[in-house]
Amino acid sequence: MYHKTKPYKVFTVFNYTFLILLSLLCIIPLIHILAVSFSGKAAANANLVGLFPVEFTLDAYEKTLANENFLRSLWIAVQRTVLGTILSMVIVTLAAYPLSRENRSFKRRNIYTWYFVFTMLFSGGLIPFYILIQKLNLLNTMWVLILPGAVSVWNMILLLNFFRNVPKELEEAAFIDGAGYFRTLISVFLPVSMPAIATLSLFSMVGHWNAWFDGLIFLTDHEKYPLATFLQTIIVQQDFSKVSVRPEDLENISQRTIKAAQIFIGMAPILVVYPLLQRFFVKGIVLGAVKE
């Protein structure tokens, strides 16, 4: 029994230590930024903050939450996430169901599947896409953040693979009882696919919450920025020209503790949904991605 050999016991000790260090490495940056956000301004500027707040204060959060621009972008991000997720899930579910059927009952299945998959392999690229959005008059609308990404081919493939594992008998029974395709999808497929639907919805939510680039290029009106784009211009580009600040507020925005507070509020929703997500996703991804 190798478990009882001495070299293996030594290995186990090292292994556990190493894995603990690795996981610390993944969260220390987050703890540090949290500590900075709760620290006093002077302590933060003097780089005295490590993993614990120095001169604990909620000042940075008070100022952040008093900032109208921040609150507006937060609200836009919430709207975008909710609308975008619902729309995308409806469209993807509607498409995944017919595509999950066998070739016999849906002859053009392969043509349609390749129609979607081809867009994963080849794209017009950024410039023609930008010109299209311009011509469609979608600049500065909520639609530009929601519609182009609504057909997530990746989610569609995961879901159609999940639908395929639903027993045929269930579907046949529904047809015999006189249900149509829509009825069958809603009353039979959706209830049994809840783990997959939940996983994909959560992925979609995280995606919308984190998306910033479309806002940066398609919204010229900076009052319409969702939170991720707002944070990108403030924290990463350090470009305050886009947020219409009064000179006396400028110091507040560029302050290190306030940036830390904004970063933390920006990731807080992810930290909340993440534990919910984790229960499902291993099963969801692996079922869809790895096949015997």
Binding site: L22, L94, L121, I131, Y181, L231
Partner: protein
Amino acid sequence: MLLPAVILTFIFAYIPMGGLVIAFQDYKPWLGFAKSSWIGLEHFQFLFSMPENVQVIWNTLIIAGLKLIGGLIAPLIFALLLNEVRKETFKKSIQTFVYLPHFLSWVILGGILLDMLATKGMINQFLGAVFGLEPIFFLGDGTWFRIVVVTSDIWKEFGFGAIIFLASLAGINPALYEAAEVDGASRWQQTWSITIPALIPIMIVVGTLSLGNILNGGFDQIFNLYNPLVYDKGDIIDTFVYRVGLIDGKFGFSAAVGLFKSVVGFVLIVIAYRAAYKFANYRIF
């Protein structure tokens, strides 16, 4: 039921492909596609005639190549080590922590890294206190910038990348290990003769599929970390297309660079899928 998806895909994926004609035009936005003059392959000749343009392609290959290698090896080693852990709760907690960075965006992580990697930031303080090093200008020096980009990408994704290996490890028949025990194989010999061979197909799949992405250096990450000081070594095709096309307004040239990338990427992905199918019997749907 397919109709909404078909229409949306047509508008937002297929129409832009048609828009690629501007790669062969001297495109002027006020003239449109129809009236702009045709210039053939001039944009492509320009792409390969300017040293700094070719440098962008090299940067992309180097950064993406290093990420690919690190992104394959780190999750594999992590999965193998985690597989040796017998305590379920310990295993679960480790997993919870290491998957987390995957779900945070590069805006958030970029903000954190900019703060931590500053010359007076936490990392330089740590290096100074422990090893007595002078502060390193991580984000202002091209070579360090590449190291930061590759390392932080591996840091963000190694945990999540390990999921697929962990799933394969769970699928190995325990009888193989029992038989090896009876024959007196040590754990190391078991890993070498049972675990590694069992993982080879999935390694081939992950490796070949990421080979199809070799022209993607990671736009989000680089865009959120770089600055003009490191354009020479840190600029990748995607950031270059954005800067030259949308910021400088050279639509035609930028579209040509994008088209070059799309075509090469398409060929690579098709080869990768075929290879994955042939060597590991992998299909996407």
